[in-house]
């Protein structure tokens, strides 16, 4: 333990604790911008500078460990002046039009500047002009050079967590900026679109392409019947923006809110998740028995960030992906066929919107393989954040909106579908049904819980009807890369591998609300999904009565001809830059 003095108070912390963390433990806050614990401790913004007695210059609190007897002043005149001028300098190169910024109210820079009471800037505004601020408007990921404060967090997240190195510093001197690495443009880069750079950006420097106006336009069209699906992870997070607890922010309350926005049919992606299990679970058993998985495992295909990663980094393994479409796309397919038929309308009249915790889903819905002659299966993808913005735009107060049931038939789901939103959930749901298919009996629903929690990579071998199934679950693309390298080196062998691009799975997705403090929320959000599963009446995908009806009325059987046509895809039919 080390004892130091911060603002006259004696603080005792373990050796190696930074000044910033030591101060925090004594309820002394040191303002900071670029710092992200464990990931970005590079002292770039200089906002956290404090005065340490005996030192010539100011010292950064974020990456300087306290020493025995150190005397720190976080609010001395020199510290105040340093902080204020450095924030003013950052503001001079930041587009401060907060009223038109997606992060207003949830911006670290705005908060720091407001706290300091900066009312005018003594410096000239210097913003990139002309082509130096140009970025594509069609790509699902948007980078705003004028709002970027070069904190480097995006670079660090992409390098250290996702191992894709999409971002880098470009230019030198005063023109140094963050740009796509290797002098590429984003459309030609192997970006997975996981969106982790967005959720770790302190300002509006990064965001998703905003599609809310498109959604409002669709809602206003009388010739369209709007159908909305909501992904499992969305229900764990949407309430954060409205001060609702996770228990209050139910799917039913969200359904009622979506109806007030004008959506005609409110459905649940969980229904399609159950459907995915039927297809993917059976596909797995089929490939396992056919001896297809001797060298390489079957990979899950429901995460489009992961699919983009695999296709760009290890294109030779693309064939190991399950051919099952993701739940979002299965939902779209079934909506524009079975549901249209049920309503007795042309598929073109349906406008299918999905609310996803994800940025890559936008790209997935736009793939040439995800459309028919009737148009795209999913017309528009909104992130959880965009949905929140729409609710706020209409001044709805979800806390005062009573819960309403979802619509039939695709509002019905099981606990197995719910856990798709957390890392390990797809695997667990698939194993539950696989065990049933093999034995004709339901296993204990929690029999496969071992893959739920733990570090980046979890592995387990389960006896399913006497057949040992070697499973691995991984989230975060850096972890996925490690796993594939192990497989390639012959140091690991699995039959079935679930990969989610975002740490913690979809609950930690790049389209989820950004917490005002730097904290990772995938843990608590994921727990919410497992709670929902535990309290579900049905916990097996094959028990979903509406899924059963769908097969009976329309599809036939899993992997049957119509199922293959509507619910499976060819991952090789589109190109990914690599």
């Amino acid at each position: 333990m080390v004892t130091c003095s911060i603002n006259g108070r004696s603080v005792c912390v373990p050796e190696g604790t930074t000044i910033l963390e030591a101060a925090r433990s004594a309820d002394i806050q040191v303002p900071h911008l670029c710092y992200l614990k464990g990931l970005n401790e590079i002292a770039a913004c200089r906002v956290c500078c404090v005065e340490v007695e005996g030192e010539r210059a100011m010292v950064t609190a974020c990456n300087t460990p306290v020493r025995e007897g150190m005397v720190v002043h976080t609010n001395s005149p020199r510290a105040r002046n340093t902080r204020r001028i450095n924030v003013e300098l950052i503001l001079s190169q930041h587009d401060c039009k907060c009223a038109t910024c997606v992060r207003s109210g949830n911006c670290r820079l705005q908060a720091v500047a407001n706290d300091l009471g900066i009312l005018e800037l003594p410096y000239a505004t210097q913003l990139p002009q002309g082509l130096r601020k140009a970025w594509t408007t069609t790509f699902p990921l948007y980078h705003d050079y004028s709002k970027c404060i070069k904190c480097m967090r995006c670079i660090q997240v992409c390098d250290k967590i996702q191992s894709l190195n999409i971002w880098d510093l470009a230019g030198t001197g005063g023109r140094t900026t963050i740009d796509v690495s290797g002098n590429r443009v984003i459309k030609d880069a192997d970006c997975s679109l996981c969106g982790q750079c967005i959720t770790h950006c302190p300002t509006g420097g990064l965001r998703e392409r905003d599609d809310t106006q498109k959604a409002f336009r669709a809602l206003s069209r009388e010739d369209k019947i709007t159908v909305v699906q909501v992904a499992p992870a969305v229900r764990t997070a949407w309430g954060e923006a409205f001060g609702l607890t996770r228990e209050e922010a139910t799917m039913e309350r969200l359904a009622a809110t979506l109806r007030r926005l004008g959506f005609r049919y409110v459905f649940d992606t969980n229904f399609a998740a159950d459907l995915t299990i039927m297809e993917e679970g059976n596909e797995f058993l089929h490939r396992l028995k056919a001896g297809d998985l001797k060298q390489w495992p079957m990979f899950t295909s429901c995460c489009p960030g992961w699919v983009r990663f695999l296709k760009s980094q290890y294109p030779e393994l693309t064939g190991q992906l399950s051919t099952a479409k993701s739940p979002q796309q299965m939902f779209g397919s079934v909506t524009k066929s079975w549901f249209a038929e049920k309503l007795g309308v042309e598929p073109e009249r349906l406008y299918c919107v999905s609310v996803m915790p994800c940025v890559a889903k936008k790209a997935e819905s736009e793939l040439p393989t995800m459309a028919t002659e009737h148009g795209p299966d999913v017309d528009l993808v909104l992130t959880t954040r965009e949905l929140i913005r729409m609710i706020r735009a209409d001044k709805l107060d979800p806390s005062r909106i009573p819960e309403e049931p979802l619509d039939d038939p695709m509002g019905v789901h099981t606990g197995a579908g719910v856990i798709f939103g957390a890392t390990g959930g797809v695997m667990e749901a698939a194993l539950r049904t696989a065990a049933y298919v093999l034995t004709g009996e339901n296993p204990e629903p929690d029999a496969f819980r071992a893959v739920r929690t733990g570090p980046g990579l979890r592995e387990a071998t389960y006896e399913v009807a006497g057949i040992p199934v070697r499973c691995a679950v991984v989230s975060g693309l850096g972890n996925a890369r490690k796993l594939i390298e192990q497989l390639k080196a012959g140091r690991a062998h699995y039959d079935f591998v679930e990969v989610m691009a975002c740490p913690g799975g979809c609950v930690g997705g790049g389209g989820q609300p950004i917490p005002p403090e730097e904290e990772e929320l995938y843990g608590v959000r994921g727990q919410r999904l497992y709670d929902l599963d535990r309290s579900s009446a049905m916990r097996f995908s094959h028990e979903n009565p509406q899924v059963q009806v769908l097969y009976r009325e329309y599809l036939g059987e899993p992997l049957g001809q119509r199922s293959e046509e509507l619910l499976h895809t060819d991952h090789l039919a589109w190109e990914m830059p690599h």
Binding site: A43, R56, A57, G171, T172
Partner: protein, 611 residues
Amino acid sequence: MSRLSIETPGRAQTVLQGLYVDMERRISASQPGLCPVDMSLNFLRLCHAQTCGKCVPCRVGLSQLAVLIERVLDRDATLETVDLIESTAQVIADSADCAIGYEAAHMVLRGVRGFREDYEEHVLHGRCICGLSQPVPCVVTCPAHVDVPGYVALIREGRYQDAVRLIRKDNPFPSVCGYVCEHPCEGQCRRRMVDDAVNICGLKRFAVDHAGVVDPPERAPDTGKQVAVIGGGPGGLTAAYYLSLMGHQVTVYEQRPKLGGMLRYGIPDYRLPQEVLDRDIDHILSTGVRVHTGVSIGSDLTMEEIQRGYDAVYIAIGAHTDKKLGLEGEDAENVISAVEFLRSIGEGEVMDFTGKQVCVIGGGNVSMDATRTALRLGAERVTCVYRRRVEDMTALAEEIEEAMAEGCQILPLQAPARIEVDGSGKVAALWTRPQIIGPYGADGRPKPRDAAVREFRIPCDYVIVAIGQAIEARPFETIGVTTHRGAIQADLTSAVPGVHNVFAGGDAVSGPATVIRAVAAGKVAAANIDNYLGFDHKIRCDVEIPPAHLTSTPPCGRVNLRNRDLRTCKGDFTLVKEGMSLEEAQQESSRCLRCDHFGYGIFKGGREREW
């Protein structure tokens, strides 16, 4: 009013003079990887601030050039803008009235012609081509990329053993390099922006002198692979050391009786004592390297046999043969090559030059070694003859100063013409053609030419020729190794193209260079041979690097090593330079700015923990 008065500079001018000196140092400490267009623009602005304002091309033209280049950087330009920059600069160069203007324009022209593709990349894509990373200057400029801030920090903490361990991760010759490294790491040391470069080499010597024996790291499990290394110099032994740590069985073939190559047979003891060299060699051998000395490839053993008998071969034979002057009288008795001369001393054959007059031809480090050695052998007078100026000599400045201090004479601007032979076939004198230094050549150095002065006679008993070394590659050509201008052909990965399982590096490939370049080549070879053999062993060092001190020390003089008091160097081959004291080492190590922690280093590239 008085007719004249003594002028004294004003306070502002005095301060400004100081700033010029600071700026000069700062520019030379520029880190690698800066945008050449951006730098050009800012040089131009500095030039423009110097304009007197009289003539149009300088006053207006430089200003407009700056606007145009700024447009290029702001992505507000077309390729025609680049043409306009060039034609404008040409006119300024042709028509400005004085050097302030035309030299500024020449700088712009050199840039727009020398790195036009950078200009075009900015215009077309708004980006720099140049490297985007700015890692630690000393680490990046060290050919072997030794973790300099790491070991300097360890020295500051008094952890000399750990410092040596850390150096050995990248360079198994810490002792040798502590004494004779040319220390390119100091060239762009960021401390130069404050005062002067850290004396990195001197600190390394302090560490090795105080570390005692340091155990080698653990060897990887035996791979069963056999590697032959031909040449027991710094490059060959470096490869042998790392390959051995990686678990391969390494055998070194050395044609001389002892290991060390040029370190033993080229560098005199007063610069590198044999026992210092032996420290590093003993450490390397302790990892289980097998050694066959006195074996010459070609005569004792054929290259085919070696290639067949081993899974991989590394050729690191160095450059040990001499180059000829091609002068009349060169075959006379007492005309010797510097390589041969120094080698015989290394082999213990001490010649007696007492009362003799010696001429050394050449201006490189080897010539300085020969010069100083001849003095120690008792020569009455040693004259170093060089055809350019003293400032053009390629030897390190401190080597030249020391040679002069020890009493040798440097005779610049004298091109050797012929060697006069006496009746008994021995050297009688060296005739030279006096030179005048002239215009700059394509290599950026001023060229000498014959002056309108008569030939000059330097009476002497010995002529030592130190004009470069060559490579004896013939025994290796039998297996298909090719040579170009006397150097063995090998890729940048050290693989020899077209010859399976053979690698080559060091002086034999690059031509005569430095110890640290040979070490770097050995490292590259070890890594690639390991991969070639089907492995991916990592060399790492688990020494914890001390955290950086919070803020830097204020400007402080650099500790330079002193020479021991030398009344006469005759017969004295003992070490000339004295190491730092503890007090000095502590102060010097505290001058390190820890670029691994401060600046870009903490973000990217600050520390490679393994290779």
